[in-house]
Amino acid sequence: MSLAIPNGLDNSNDRPGQRAPLVLGDTNYHSITEAVCKIAEQPPSRAWVIGFLVSVHLATMLGLCIAYLIYTGVGVWGNRAPIFWGWPIVNFVFWVGIGHAGTLISAILYLFRQEWRTSINRTAEAMTIFAVVCAGTFPGIHVGRAWLAFWLAPYPSLNLWMWPQFRSPLLWDVFAVSTYATVSLLFWYMGMVPDLATFRDRSKNPFRRAAYGVLALGWSGSSRHWMRYEKAYALLAAFAAPLVLSVHTIVSFDFAVSQVPGWHTTIFPPYFVAGAIFSGFAMVITLMVPARSIFNIEKLITIRHLENMCKIILTTGLIVGLAYGTEFFIAWFGQVPEEKFAFVNRAFGPYWWAYWTMIACNVISPNIFWSKKARTTPWIMFVVSIFVNIGMWFERFVITITSLSRDYLPSAWAYFSPTWVDWCMLIGSFGLFFTLFLLFCRLMPIVNMAETKATLAKELHMAHADHSHEGDH
């Protein structure tokens, strides 16, 4: 019943024609259940408690900053003419980008039958939801009078005598991000129901059992249910895949439909999507590398999983690099003076440091993944993933701020300086993200047990078939 791997826990090599197993060690169905449920059933470890306390503090700081902002007004930010889209929008695009990997892993890799997704998709989906929560915060407070944000909804308002403006990209964004948040939530929750049933059935405490019982909706594992469930899962994946693309495309429209030099370029949609995937996978690595060792699930989230993610980071990093290059080339080729200036200004203007940080982190640092050793050494990929996160934040900074700070009216040019509120909100958003993530780790099944078991069943079956096949000869 078990698959012994000769070289320990390294399954990153496979001979063509044979597939290396994705579930390692002396694993069976029950041990998968044990390994995953234990994380939520045991008392929290000290690392978790410290991490949680720090995160909650930072999240509280975000909350206080928001209260201060709403009470005082958006002047507390560094947004000044002509840079009206300052850090809040940078942070928004950054977090929305992070939020793409989850649904991508769940939906697109599912459609491409990449079975290595099974043990990381749950965490990635959770990460998506939390990142979208962080992302949604920023435009919400950036509208100024946040308590009137409901004006964005199309409802017959006899006070305002007007409707939302559907020809505005900012309204598309409202629809895109909220649809994405909703569908991701459905997808995440639906995927979790069978595992919540496992939690329910293992719970000894009646309250816990009742709570998980309600969340599991009475799941019984019936084959008829599974059949419809799988169909629904495939359908949701098919809907979520173009949705992922559309969300960052529409975020890119926010910039690209305008005429601001450096924003208006047609490659923005695919380039934003690639960038989002890039940063999302980096964040998954940032979370998974410590999580798998803290929670002791290296047999489920194997080196192979991490290596594949590194490869995706490398690929998307190079796509993003190619897009930077193309933008530069076309800015010159197009011979529009403002456009040419905008790009020279990015690289050699007052924000040169941001531009070259971006290039170094996004285009250069992932190239270490050409080396197999780097792709299979967790600490190296952790470091690179941090670099990529930094680089992608700077990418949004470069796009948003350099273009706005020097637009068509030279007499209005200005240099952007963030205030302490900007800083605290950026840091606080990480606090919010990690608070939610750490809570998730304690309360929910962080690995998709049902799918991992299905993968294991398939591998057992294959091993069995190969074995009997060889026996025939």
Partner: protein
């Protein structure tokens, strides 16, 4: 997963050979193709005049080239992702991708046209004066758009494509004989850098060969746009050729309904992707409404081109999107193959719509369209003839690929 242990046939099984009925078509196709191509180009040139003749040739050229480099990308990506399902249809793609070598020779007329001014507006004497382009701008433009540098760049693109295609083709052929697993490993290991070189060349070739037809126009997404059409049509061609080969008697048991289902899914996906890319490009230019950019779409919304634009939207995206959405369609080989053939026709119209308006003579009328069609049919026939000749000397399936078994047993869920 009911894993059926499918027996792999021996390498010299007749199922892997090109059926004689097809092999015989090779020579007539090559000869007929050359005649039609040359005849069509001359007819188009003399009947319509201007830059129309060479534009017809470019349509034919880009049509074959997009199929070839699309197939090249297909092969690279299968190696890159260590895909198992696609092994049975990969040889078909390999035969198509190696056509970049004859296509490199067919590039000569285009290279010559860069000097004679018979295709690209920027190479026409007096373009700057006629369009009132300031000297400073034209001087910098000419740094990129001048015949010598243009031909030099084109040579780089063609060399890179031919190099990659030849290397992968040879590797796959050698494995047919020896069955060495290390060959697959080597092909896999090089696929990453190869994809990057490919992406770079494809993007810039699209800028140089197609986008520069309108010298002052620019769109950063244009390379992606051409690439999308290319990868979509390549999948359609793989589906169509596999089907035709099966009808002729080859690889009857190897390519199953599951493979058609998978190709169908990818075709469906790329139809959506094509819609996404072309819509995004249009949307951004339409919304920002900057004269430097809108003139490209303006040309395509006047002078009869408007109808073609609407037609493309409906027929290249709407209809096939609805048509290939259902699993039931994708699991019927003849049905999905019909859609594939349909897309291949639409891909031609797409290229016609991209290239021809810049020749400056409108739709070209019945004469122009027929002349272009003759050109295209000629070049396609030539390519098919060469492919058949090549296929006759080898096998139509990569018979000793280590993942052949996996591909044979492949099932969708």
């Amino acid at each position: 997963m009911s894993h059926k242990a499918v027996a792999i046939k021996p390498a010299d099984d007749p199922a892997f050979q090109l059926p004689a009925s097809l092999a015989g078509l090779s020579l007539p196709m090559i000869i007929g193709g050359i005649v039609a191509l040359v005849g069509g180009a001359f007819f188009s040139n003399s009947a319509i005049g201007g830059r129309f003749g060479m534009s017809s040739y470019l349509v034919a050229y880009m049509y074959c080239l997009t199929l070839a480099i699309g197939s090249l990308f297909f092969v690279l990506i299968q190696h890159l992702t260590r895909a198992g399902w696609s092994v049975v249809v990969r040889r078909v793609a390999e035969l198509m991708m190696i056509m970049v070598i004859p296509l490199a020779l067919l590039f000569i007329p285009i290279a010559v046209s860069a000097y004679t001014g018979s295709l690209y507006a920027w190479s026409v004497e007096g373009y700057q004066a006629d369009h009132g382009i300031p000297d400073a701008i034209w001087k910098e433009k000419s740094l990129w758009l001048n015949p010598n540098w243009f031909v030099f760049r084109s040579l780089i693109y063609l060399t890179v494509w031919c190099g990659i295609a030849a290397w992968y083709y040879r590797g796959s052929q050698r494995q047919d004989e020896t069955g060495e697993i290390t060959i697959t490993e080597k092909l896999q290991a090089r696929s990453g850098p190869a994809v990057i070189a490919f992406a770079f060349c494809t993007s810039f070739a699209a800028f140089d060969w197609v986008m520069s037809l309108a010298p002052m126009w620019f769109s950063t997404m244009f390379g992606v746009y051409i690439f999308t059409g290319s990868i979509l049509s390549a999948h359609c061609a793989i589906c169509l050729f596999s089907f035709l080969l099966q009808r002729a008697g080859a690889m009857r048991d190897e390519v199953t309904v599951e493979h058609y289902h998978d190709l169908g899914k990818l075709i469906f996906g790329f139809i959506c992707f094509w819609g996404y890319i072309s819509f995004s490009q249009y949307m951004l230019i339409w919304y920002a409404n900057i004269p430097e950019e809108t003139h490209w779409f303006y040309t395509r919304s006047t002078d009869g081109w408007f109808n073609v634009s609407v037609l493309l939207m409906v027929l290249h995206w709407g209809l096939p999107f609805a048509g290939t959405m259902s699993r039931h369609v994708r699991r019927r080989p003849w049905l999905i193959t019909s859609w594939a053939a349909y897309i291949l026709v639409l891909h031609l119209i797409d290229l016609y719509w991209i290239i021809m308006p810049e020749a400056g003579v409108g739709l070209g009328g019945a004469t122009g369209i027929i002349a272009t069609l003759v050109c295209v049919i000629g070049m396609v026939a030539l390519m098919l003839g060469l492919m058949l000749k090549l296929a006759a000397g080898t096998r139509v399936v990569a018979v000793r690929d280590p993942r052949l078994g996996e591909s044979l047993a492949f099932e969708n869920f």
